[in-house]
């Protein structure tokens, strides 16, 4: 208890600085963390980046002394886990695999919304006959382990009737993956849209795109809050989630598609690549923030994956971790039930 109290005091001092404790519903600064890419000032490529760039969350706090502050971590998942643990963040959105690792190691996070999907690509050396996942048998595949991409590869192998033992996995960071496939040290790589330029350069052929592999092929993750913040500021938490859902609503409107790509290109990926990566997918469905059965089923699969791969030592109680009340509330007040109806575990709409 004393430990909890002193941690809380420390976090509180850091959060509010000199501005002494306000009334319950007015935190001084709300700090958001997201995965970032790019040189100089890194930027995000998901729903939260849209909420930041278009000011959806900031607008919810208009006229109040509360400020919002966004940080994009190029250190990806592990760096966000560390920042949450150090009390440097109140909200964060990042991939399911690292946030399950964080939760299993004792982070006091609560899932508030889904951050939508990320498309996972597979690229292979052009001189090899790799045209589908089943052709990977006996090949050397580079990925960054303990990420949602790792989950994506293992799941794709399972769906193709293969297992991890049929291939050799090499754990490499993104930049090293590009060099490794160019040097022909590996036969294929799995990653996000950073692999797409390889095809134009003739270094690799894209042979797999998760969005074409059915509803449950894409990578996923969540928007989380620290339990401490949620308990201390339930109203502010609701405002944040409402802003987040408004960002998803804005994305769902097709006329905003080009502007969204332009915002995401701030992270360093050219607009053409982003639009190629998203071709054929409706952003409204891809960035569905709801925590329905479909979301829960995917998180269950990721938790099972983490256990299987021995990434976590303890189990995670998913029911206690997910709190859909805020996002359901936002969807109801904004009247968006028809945009995002309930999905079943298999991704089928339930109306």
């Amino acid at each position: 208890m004393r430990r909890l109290l002193s941690t809380f005091l420390l976090a509180a001092t850091v959060t509010f600085g000199a501005a002494t404790a306000h009334a319950e519903d007015a935190p001084g600064t709300i700090r958001f963390g997201d995965v970032g890419f790019g040189f100089g000032t890194p930027f995000g490529v998901g729903l939260q980046a849209i909420a930041d760039a278009k000011g959806f969350i900031a607008d919810e706090f208009k006229g109040t002394p509360t400020k919002v502050e966004f940080t994009y971590f190029t250190g990806t998942g592990p760096a966000i886990n560390e920042a949450l643990s150090n009390g440097q963040l109140d909200f964060a959105s990042y991939g399911a695999v690292p946030n399950i690792i964080g939760k299993a190691n004792g982070l006091d996070t609560v899932i508030l919304a889904s951050y939508g999907g990320t498309t996972i690509f597979g690229a292979a050396r052009p001189d090899l006959e790799i045209k589908s996942i089943s052709d990977l048998k006996g090949k050397k595949v580079a990925i960054q382990k303990a990420t949602i991409i790792h989950w994506g590869l293992i799941t794709a192998l399972k769906n193709a009737g293969l297992s991890e033992k049929d291939i050799t996995i090499v754990d490499l960071k993104n930049a090293d993956q590009l060099a490794a496939i160019a040097a022909k040290s590996v036969d294929a790589v799995f990653g996000a849209d950073f692999l797409l330029p390889l095809e134009d350069k003739g270094v690799a052929k894209i042979f797999y795109k998760s969005s074409e592999a059915g509803a449950s092929g894409d990578g996923f993750g969540a928007f989380l809050v620290t339990d401490k913040f949620r308990k201390a500021y339930p109203e502010a938490t609701q405002k944040v989630v409402t802003g987040f859902v408004k960002a998803a609503q804005w994305l769902a409107d097709d006329k905003n598609r080009d502007e969204a790509f332009k915002i995401w290109s701030r992270a360093g990926t050219p607009i053409e690549v982003i639009s190629k990566s998203n071709s054929g997918s409706q952003l409204g469905q891809k960035y569905n923030p709801r925590l329905d059965e479909f979301f829960v089923a995917r998180y269950r699969s990721a938790i099972a994956f983490n256990r299987e791969q021995k990434l976590i030592r303890r189990d995670v109680d998913l029911d206690a971790w997910v709190d859909p009340t805020y996002v359901d509330n936002a969807v109801k007040t904004l009247n968006l039930q028809s945009l995002w109806p309930d999905r079943s575990a298999a991704g089928v709409l339930q109306n």
Binding site: L4, E82, N86, K145, V170
Partner: protein, 276 residues
């Protein structure tokens, strides 16, 4: 001949220290060395017990000890260390040998230095990390990549020290050798090498410490085994106790290695001074 006198005096001072003062200074040094680590561990313990730091980011010392014992029992840490030390040994053998001959070349020959020196110094200034993408392209991600990076890390300090040593062979000694009409071989073995010994020894020490630093970097970035990878993986899994265990193992091994090499260096300096 003035050089001889100076060196004799130097070796006398070193050879006959007061035993009592030596023992006293040894204890003093021991206390000094231990003071800071003990203070750090105390601070760490205090901070984690009082919950001043997050238990995930800075786990309690006893957890770290437990993790160390677990890793020791499962053989993980031994396996990782064996991989890392084999890499250091191979990289050092290749890098230091090449560095020695290259240093000898540019130290002895002004022409070679004029042609190769500037390029060497420019390439040496680029840290191993900068070489990584190019080397992956050339060598792939296999073992050879790590060995080449470690060899490069050893090559540079070894070459610089050897060249320095070769340039600093006292002119008096060379004159004597010429007067005596020594054969090339004898001159090299009896004069050049002993005169350069202190420089070579410090080259070895610098090489190994550079290799150690590069090892962790290269294993963290492009490795799938070894101590560096163990630390990077521990961070990915948010089990920072593994990272701290790795830090302590690397720190202690590096420290012991440095002390041993310093000892050896002092010994060689003493002998070379006495012989000179």
């Amino acid at each position: 001949m003035a050089t001889f006198g100076a060196e004799d005096e130097f070796s006398v001072v070193q050879a006959a220290p007061d035993v009592f003062t030596k023992a006293k200074s040894l204890v003093g040094t021991g206390l000094l060395i231990l003071a800071l680590p003990v203070a750090l561990v105390a601070l760490w313990w205090g901070a984690s017990i009082n919950g001043l730091v997050s238990p995930q980011v800075l786990p309690r010392p006893d957890w770290v000890v437990q993790t160390f014992l677990d890793l020791l029992a499962s053989g993980d840490i031994i396996a990782a260390a064996a991989v890392s030390f084999r890499r250091i040994a191979e990289g050092f053998l290749i890098g230091a040998t090449l560095g020695f001959f290259f240093g000898l070349l540019i130290g002895k020959s002004r022409t070679a230095d004029a042609y190769l020196g500037p390029t060497f110094r420019a390439l040496a200034a680029v840290p191993s990390l900068g070489w990584l993408p190019v080397l992956i392209l050339l060598l792939g991600i296999e073992e050879s990549l790590k060995i080449v990076i470690l060899a490069k890390a050893c090559f540079v300090p070894m070459a610089i020290s050897t060249a320095e040593g070769a340039r600093n062979i006292p002119a008096g000694l060379t004159e004597v050798a010429q007067v005596l009409g020594l054969r090339k071989r004898t001159r090299f073995l009896k004069l050049t090498i002993p005169a350069m010994a202190p420089f070579i020894a410090s080259g070895v020490r610098l090489s190994l410490s550079q290799a150690f630093i590069s090892l962790i970097v290269v294993e963290m970035l492009a490795g799938t085994d070894g101590l560096g990878y163990m630390m990077a993986w521990g961070r990915t899994l948010f089990q920072l106790d593994i990272v701290i265990v790795g830090m302590i193992v690397v720190g202690v091994v590096g420290f012991v290695l440095d002390i041993l090499l310093k000892r050896a260096e002092a010994l060689i300096c003493k002998r070379s001074a006495a012989n000179g």
